[in-house]
């Protein structure tokens, strides 16, 4: 079966050039980057080159890049790393107001669940709502800032909708009020230009596998001078910020992927968005009763989230997979079953509407031919599902 993969926001294939760059570090150049000897120095050099490459992608200094195991660790490090010293500084709960964090309701679970965890440790958290397109309002961020606010953490691009938040304005407020500002840029890196200085961000999370590097490697940008407690305890690797023997091959892969992304970003964004628009236009023409979620907001060029009235998204994803098209729905729970997406309900969709929405995410290797196949397969599958839907008929009358 010829498979069409439209789930690049879930993960990307490792780029062949990235893999080539990594391979020597599994065998010939296997040494520990912390070792004194020459083989160790080779590994160290490779890690530092990667640090420069990652820094260049986001306009940072190399020494501001900490390599991690991925986006989840980076997000946890940012949130716990800021919140815990604040908690430790309090003599008694009565003496100082609770440290305060501002975030949104549509963050990735890595941020949301970390925020919920610090809430249990007496940090207060404001979860700002977003509008129907999935955008946070910078003015409401400003109004939420309190004297005890220690961190604003707002993602750059949403994983489900692709909507890009107005981070520059939010960053200006963060700077003005002297509040640390973290952004999860896992879904935006490599898709849109990022400059940590324009964003005024202190902390920024990156993940390798969304960027054509392997899974299990990521980075956290930490602006020089930021007070951040380490998450893990161990050796003195990475200035003590992140102990643990460096994943040299993974780090080399992330560096190479960042370099490729930086060089190809502009052209690739144009190519991918053309295909994404072709997919959306084609579906809008061929399938009645559909709506693009977050379609009016600025979006990453590759993501399209579409609500198909009256269908069960879970069934549609399976039906499409059986026809060779890979896409996604909602959030996978531990068994692999699907739960309604918190992002879609946060932009005002009903549970029913959230369950009938699918995400198609394109990538570097998506072709026009694949979009043609998708435009063939999706309308047919939707029609088949709707014919059996208990809810479709009554919904046709209502406005979508």
């Amino acid at each position: 079966m010829n498979r069409v993969y439209l789930d690049y926001n879930a993960t990307t294939p490792v780029e062949p050039r990235v893999l080539d760059a990594m391979l020597p570090y599994f065998s010939a150049e296997f040494a520990n980057a912390s070792s004194i000897h020459t083989p160790g120095q080779h590994a160290r050099a490779a890690v530092e080159t990667a640090r420069e490459q990652v820094a260049a992608l986001i306009g940072a200094h190399p020494q501001e890049i900490v390599f991690t195991s991925g986006g989840t660790e980076s997000d946890n490090h940012a949130i716990f790393g800021v919140a815990q010293p604040c908690l430790a500084g309090r003599i008694s709960p009565a003496q100082l107001a609770q440290p305060h964090i501002i975030t949104t309701t549509i963050e990735h679970e890595a941020v949301l669940n970390a925020c919920q965890a610090v809430e249990k440790q007496a940090v207060s958290v404001t979860y700002l709502p977003v509008d129907r397109e999935g955008l946070a309002d910078p003015e409401s961020v400003r109004l939420a800032i309190r004297p005890e606010t220690v961190l604003i953490t707002i993602m750059q691009a949403n994983n489900e909708l692709g909507t890009v938040q107005p981070l520059e304005e939010i960053g200006r407020f963060a700077k003005e009020y002297k509040v640390y500002f973290h952004t999860d840029a896992v879904q935006s890196a490599g898709k849109i230009p990022i400059d940590v200085n324009r964003l005024n961000t202190h902390l920024l999370s990156l993940s390798g596998h969304k960027l054509y590097a392997p899974k299990g490697v990521g980075a956290l940008y930490v602006r020089g001078g930021t007070r951040l407690r380490q998450l893990l305890y161990g050796g003195h690797h990475q200035r003590g910020f992140r102990p643990g023997t460096e994943n040299v091959a993974g780090i080399v892969g992330l560096g190479k992927a960042a370099e490729i992304a930086r060089n190809s970003l502009a052209g690739e964004a144009k190519q991918v968005s053309t295909l994404r628009d072709k997919l959306e236009q084609g579906l809008l023409e061929r399938v009645p009763q559909i709506r693009v979620n977050g379609g009016l907001a600025p979006r990453t060029p590759n993501t399209s989230n579409i609500m198909f009235a009256g269908i069960e998204g879970e069934a549609l994803v399976i039906a499409l997979d059986l026809k060779g098209l890979a896409c996604s729905v909602g959030a996978a729970c531990s068994s692999g079953a699907v739960e309604p997406s918190h992002v879609l309900t946060a932009i005002g969709l009903s549970q029913e509407q959230a369950k009938s929405s699918l995400r198609f995410s394109l990538g570097r290797h998506t072709t026009a031919c694949e979009i043609d196949i998708a435009l063939d397969v999706i309308p047919a599958a939707v029609a088949q599902l709707r014919a059996l839907s208990p809810t479709y008929r009554k919904e046709t009358a209502s406005h979508v």
Partner: protein
């Protein structure tokens, strides 16, 4: 005949139809063997495992250690997936937690609290497996749904009705739980194990090296991991904000004499003998439960036997609704030996059932299933 040749000459209940068949896979040996059998017949298959209940929701019920291997657990999802990988066919986990709670768990608890003896598996079959799951199977392109039930289906060409029959292996027969299926549901169901014994199923599972071939059977209700209903009902009621019936009440005889006290009617089921909390000269049994009066009525074995009862929610399966009284063998709980009775339909959904000889513990909430030999004529809920 040894089991290997049995497999090679598997009875073809009907000629293998082309087209995709979905298999409801619990991760147990039965539904896993269904996959192996259908695949052996050259049938294109897709596995669906339902996520029905989140065991973590009621953490106080989590048994320690090996107790946790239950239906609906992540281990079972993992087993189902491993079987699909082993046999190499597509498999998906689908989320029916909401439907399961609405249609199975909540009614189970409500009925229990109303002093009845509910039977969740029947609801699960009628309202979850053969309803939303079957619909999902059809939506993904499978016209039929196969399950690991021990029962048989055949089309009666004279009446053009789909008939439901007992399994060939009487000790495993599950037709008692399937009386709620409509003709449409039956026409789209496949029970490949209906002609096999449990031992034959094990042999097949071993022969195809299924990773679950030696997995023990689950005997308990899948969402009650401890097997302790009372504990479950208390924990669920707390979680769902249902107020439990006010605590202590009276245990009385049929004549109203108070013979003891109880600590909540939901602790009792009809026919229960143990745990009444007082010593009596002769064995006493729970005859009925009255949640309104917060009373449990007890009596001796003779009082527990009744001849006649009413049923609701009648579903005629292998025959159309008969115009007059029908002679049947009626089964009033899973382990009940069917007994001769007459069913008088009152209307399309109600009927009066009269046994030839009194039967013990006819419990409201249980299913009454009416057989003619192996055929399930119909079934209904005991009122």
């Amino acid at each position: 005949m040894n089991a290997t040749t049995q497999f090679e000459t598997l009875p073809t209940r009907e000629p293998t139809q082309s087209g995709l068949v979905a298999i409801a896979m619990s991760g147990g040996v039965d539904s896993s063997t269904v996959a192996a059998v259908l695949q052996e017949q050259g049938q294109p298959i897709v596995g669906l495992t339902m996520q029905l209940w989140n065991q973590r929701r009621l953490p106080e019920l989590q048994g320690a250690g090996p107790q946790q291997h239950r239906c609906c657990s992540l281990d079972d999802v993992y087993d189902a997936r491993r079987v699909a990988q082993h046999l190499n066919f597509p498999h998906y986990v689908v989320n029916f937690e909401e439907q399961f709670e609405q249609r199975v768990v909540r009614p189970f608890v409500d009925q229990y609290l109303a002093g009845r003896t509910p039977i969740a598996c029947t609801n699960c079959n009628t309202d979850v497996k053969f309803e939303p799951l079957l619909r999902m199977a059809r939506q993904i392109g499978a016209e039929r749904l196969a399950t690991g039930h021990y029962a048989r289906i055949r089309k009666n060409e004279q009446t053009s009705r789909w008939e439901l029959l007992r399994a060939r292996d009487e000790s495993k027969d599950q037709s008692y739980f399937l009386w709620g299926l409509s003709q449409e549901q039956l026409s789209r169901s496949v029970f490949p194990l209906g002609e096999l014994t449990k031992e034959e199923v094990r042999v097949l599972a071993r022969r195809t090296n299924l990773p679950v071939a030696e997995k023990p059977e689950s005997m308990e209700l899948c969402f009650v991991p401890t097997g302790n209903y009372v504990q479950f009902i208390q924990a669920y009621s707390k979680d769902a904000g249902i107020s439990l019936p006010h605590g202590e009440g009276e245990i009385v005889t049929e004549h109203g004499t108070v013979v003891g006290h109880h600590n909540g009617v939901h602790n009792f089921t009809i026919g229960q003998r143990k745990g009444l909390g007082f010593a009596a000269g002769k064995p006493l049994y729970v005859l009925s439960i009255d949640p309104q009066e917060n009373r449990v009525v007890v009596g001796d074995d003779d009082s527990l036997r009744k001849t006649s009862f009413e049923v609701r929610g009648m579903n005629w399966v292998s025959i159309e609704q008969p115009p007059g009284p029908v002679r049947v063998a009626a089964k009033i709980r899973h382990k009940h030996e069917p007994a001769a009775a007459t069913v008088h339909a009152i209307d399309a959904t109600k009927a009066q059932v009269t046994f030839d000889a009194p039967q013990r513990a006819i419990a409201p909430g249980q299913g009454a299933v009416f057989y003619d030999g192996d055929r399930v004529l119909g079934g209904a809920w005991i009122r």
